[in-house]
Symmetry: C2
Subunit: 648 residues, 2 copies
């Protein structure tokens, strides 16, 4: 069929036949392009993943595994191996492809990128060849220090090589680790900066300029070299020089091109084509784009094979799909879009509103505000601590800062700064984006499941998660206009799986939720589009079994009004609360506290559902099911309760 397209991958045997024919820099180039092919295909299969950074780092990865490191010779578990890992972590699709080529992970595993039991969207130690968990930026050199000190204490040989991004250098922890590594004279560390000059979607020099990196690293006591990161001869020369430096840690600043290898994804061109915005940082390419990219790569591979007089690799068909299927994504509401619009509306009303971002402008829905009020938009780069404290200073000057990042970074990385701000009795709105379990492809470094617990012990903080577009605007306006202290708003990042309809008499009133669906047999309280969708779908399943489920939306995650709870739970002996969060610190605990404080409520049972183990990586349905939070699991739970009790 003309309207179908195919995803293909190059199998292990094809790599082996090249490798066994001997190794030289031209062969490395061929291997790298074959890995590029597999990277593109695995991301396309997964439906998401990071291409730009995988492609910029893949020559370095190929050079390291197939030429420089002793890993293939010693074995990945040998204590004397060279330990290598990526600090940024989002280049892992490329690294997985190289690890497959090296026989460290299987071909089948490579095809399961971002799937349950497969390869996490960011590195995880359970995956062979992955030495650390990463995905949150700036930790790699510190981790490398731990490995290097450990090697020394244990008397093991081998270097520790860590790859960092360039945007990542904006994280303060990097500079902590540079200074301590140098002071502690940890000489068996080599850091490679993948200097591809583009952050998530803009040039680094536009976000926060890195300035003279050589001078910076030197002033922190490191031995510095710089070369082309796609040139194997140059890479080899630098590593040869590094062998002679034994008195301090070493860094290679590797000039690379983001998206390298696919002409239209390559940094300079791709930026010019799209008004300075780089669109290949994350996400799978559309069908036609994928075909164009792999077409380009297979031509290159063909030419290289001809030059080297080796056989063309096999291209194994993995999947055949209908092209351009319309997906939910294109139709469903996004709360972050509602937030984007509400922010502009609020910005028009209040000239004291200032919006801060840590290099997630597009993901956090800030572009409209940035366009409309450039003076009141602060792009702070990947420096959350600095952003939060700067917001504190602005608040002390009488402004109302709205601070944005992914919840997992904002609530955690800058936790002490948030606390310090809270002691100043100013008002700040923190918006924790990418809240909760879904999407689960990027994995545990990105799923924000502790943010309520991390904000909860602050003084006078209100924590809200809206369920739809309307409530998102309500949450923002309430926080700005009515809250008497700081607020934290959690927003999911995906399109809503269904558009949640609020009752006609709905009011946004602190401590009070809304009944979305009346029912008489069981009661679920949940919040946010993801879990409410599962609850509502569970009600459909249960309706088929003549079980009538009441579903309540409770956006106030640390404020539950006792009378409201009594009212909404009237006639039920049990309250089921679903947290899109770890159970610890979530809404379930808040509800339990309220219940313990009231004689009537105390007589009821509570079932707290939520996450109580590290979050899984996979598709939304896989992962919801894994944690027992999908509609079917909820329905089954309620059915089993019904079977053991007269009334829930």
């Amino acid at each position: 069929m003309g309207n179908q397209f195919e995803i293909k991958c190059i199998p292990y045997a094809s790599f082996q036949s090249i490798i066994q024919s001997g190794m030289d820099h031209k062969r490395l180039q061929l291997l790298a392009d074959m890995c590029r092919y597999n990277t593109l295909s695995s991301v396309k299969l997964a439906g998401s993943g990071h291409l730009g950074s995988s492609l910029s780092a893949i020559d370095i990865n190929t050079f390291l595994y197939f030429s420089e490191l002793n890993v293939l010779e010693k074995g990945i578990d040998n204590p004397d191996r060279d330990v290598y890992f990526s600090s940024k972590g989002h280049d892992c699709p490329g690294q997985y492809a190289v690890l497959m080529a090296a026989g460290i992970i299987s071909f089948e595993k490579m095809l399961k990128l971002r799937r349950l039991g497969g390869l996490d969207g960011h590195p995880d130690v359970k995956i062979p060849g992955m030495e650390i968990c990463s995905g949150s930026l700036g930790m790699g050199i510190s981790k490398a220090k731990g490995f290097a000190i450990g090697k020394k204490l244990a008397g093991d040989s081998g270097r520790v090589v860590v790859l960092t991004g360039d945007g990542e250098l904006q994280e303060g922890q990097i500079w902590e680790s540079l200074q301590t590594a140098s002071h502690q004279k940890i000489s068996n560390i080599i850091c490679i900066v993948d200097l591809n000059k583009i952050q998530s979607d803009k040039e680094t020099r536009e976000i926060i300029e890195l300035k003279n990196l050589e001078k910076k690293f030197e002033s922190f006591g490191w031995y510095v070299q710089r070369c082309e990161g796609h040139d194997y001869d140059q890479l080899q020369s630098v590593f040869d020089i590094f062998d002679t430096i034994t008195d301090r840690p070493k860094v290679l600043i590797a000039d690379t091109v983001k998206g390298k290898g696919i002409s239209f994804m390559e940094g300079p061109v791709a930026l010019k084509d799209n008004n300075g915005i780089y669109k290949w940082h994350s996400g799978a390419p559309a069908d036609d784009v994928y075909l164009e990219a792999v077409g380009e790569l297979s031509s290159k591979i063909k030419q290289l094979c001809a030059d080297l007089s080796v056989t063309d690799p096999e291209y194994k068909l993995i999947e055949r799909r209908d092209k351009n299927v319309v997906r939910l994504k294109d139709k469903a509401e996004k709360v972050v879009t509602a937030y984007e619009q509400a922010l502009v509306k609020l910005g028009k009303q209040r000239s004291d509103l200032v919006v801060l971002d840590a290099d997630l402008c597009g993901d956090c829905g800030l572009k409209s505000f940035e366009r409309e009020f450039p003076d009141r938009f602060i792009e702070n780069g990947i420096a959350e601590q600095d952003m939060v404290s700067a917001a504190g200073g602005l608040a002390l000057q009488g402004f109302l800062p709205v601070v944005n990042s992914f919840g997992v970074f904002l609530a955690s990385r800058s936790n002490e700064q948030i606390y310090a701000n809270s002691t100043e009795n100013t008002k700040i709105i923190y918006v924790c984006h990418y809240a909760g379990l879904i999407p689960a492809g990027p994995g545990k470094s990105h799923q924000s499941l502790r943010d309520i617990s991390l904000f909860g012990a602050l003084n006078n903080i209100t924590i809200i998660e809206p369920c739809n577009a309307q409530q998102t605007e309500d949450a923002l306006f309430w926080s700005a206009e009515h809250a008497d202290g700081s607020c934290m708003i959690r927003l999911i990042i995906s399109p809503s799986p269904q558009n949640i309809t609020l009752p006609t008499d709905y009011r946004f009133s602190k401590g009070h939720g809304s009944v979305l669906l009346e029912g008489t047999d069981a009661l679920i309280i949940a919040y946010g589009p993801v879990m409410l969708n599962e609850a509502l779908k569970a009600s459909d399943i249960l309706a088929g079994k003549s079980v009538s489920l009441k579903v309540v939306n409770m956006p106030w995650l640390n404020n539950v009004d006792t009378e409201w709870l009594k009212d909404v739970s009237g006639g039920f002996d049990e309250i089921i609360v679903i947290d899109n969060h770890m159970k610890f610190g979530g809404l379930g605990q808040c509800v339990a506290n309220v219940m313990m404080s009231d004689a009537i409520l105390k007589t009821k049972k509570i079932t707290q559902l939520g996450i109580d183990c590290p979050p899984a990586c996979g598709t939304p349905q896989e992962v919801l099911q894994y944690h027992g939070l999908d509609a079917q699991s909820l329905a089954d739970l309620i059915t089993s309760k019904k079977n053991t009790a007269l009334k829930i």
Copy 2:
């Protein structure tokens, strides 16, 4: 009486008479020494406080307020004022003395350092002249950015001047803020580094060397000047030059002497006298030392007054005390001492034990381990994030890292790094020192009251607070030898107010506490030496009223065994839980959860005591009482409950 000594302070009028006689650099020197006198006296009155850093910064403070800043001219609330604050914050006794001299805070207020309703041990915005809350390091330049951006948006004039320490430059946030301030072209910021070259108790170059600071700041895009920080002519020259630089942020690296002005407290000498350990960073001097110091200062002041032909200042008697009273401090047990010994004992048994510190070696009881096992002790400087991730790397290499800092810094500043480590399924022991409300003199930047909530949502973490020396060793050994995941141990930093005696049949068994005192009328569950002391003292008060109080020690803060709780609360209708922590996330919530899950326990009432507002600053008794957690408040609460119910 010969065995008495006197604390005196110089009143406001004496400063005014100098100031009104005109201002020149010699007069600034006189004012500074008079402020030094008051700094010493206020710290001596408080019984604690930071001298070394106050004394190194006091010339800069004097220069700024009485010569350079427009604050006294414009008024401290004027939007066009120069905003000035200290990022490190522990130099505030000196700054308070200067603010008193400037008439911004009252003489009476200055005498209430570290007292309830007085002057916090670290800066707080409620104090006139203090522009930010600080005390946790590294946030100041970021805050200054917020002020500077705010001034620009509001159209207000005035510079933003921020003082930092030198050890503080080890914090990664500093480098975030340097890069963003430069990129954002924030030119109305001046940073002054108080380069006194000594951290809490050692030379900075010994902890983590700062290397070429000029080169570092320049590579981050700042305009740099360097001068003597005690020389008013040089300070003036630098500020004159700064006026001409309008295109970027500016930094003055001010070479200072820690303890400046008191011969035997001055950096180089004081270090030599005490084997390289600086002992004047914090804490009040002993009586004789105080007398020697103020004696030295008053001679200098006398000479300067003579040189300037102005009248000697008045020395107002504030307090007359018996000298060298033996205090509780000298007799009581310290859990941190038990920890220090246990750590060495464990280090002898386990060669995989590695101890990490972030420049709090003495406070955290690490000196013995450092001495005994220098190779397995890592001094990481004030860089908690780096320390925690390095520990993660060590754990991945098979070591057992024990990570130390004050809880408020460790749990919060490095929270995301702790989370990342937790996803790697290694075992790490985190020791949160200075846990809880007491001592309350340093104030809310140091009191760790959120650490349980910050660790609680991690996977498979066990949180323990031991009540005495024996249990401290038990907690450390259990964590190392028996825990199947990471552990967090909370330790108070003060001497225990009483040595808690565990029952003879005591066992350290997860989820189980111990009855310290049998009773029949009311039940209190608490943990740690501070709150157990209050509970035990409450029982004495209540015994006088024929009320019999049962007191239970529960060291397992996130693991409460249901059967144990049923057993221990048998015969009581109510359980009172005291948290030395915010109520959110504390033991009280864990107990409430267990109660909600059990039909019998659910019928009982629970009263959760703890902290639910920002912690107060003051003496232990003042602050315990303020939060309703002192013995009398507990006894009153129980009495009032008794009066309204048959049985609690």
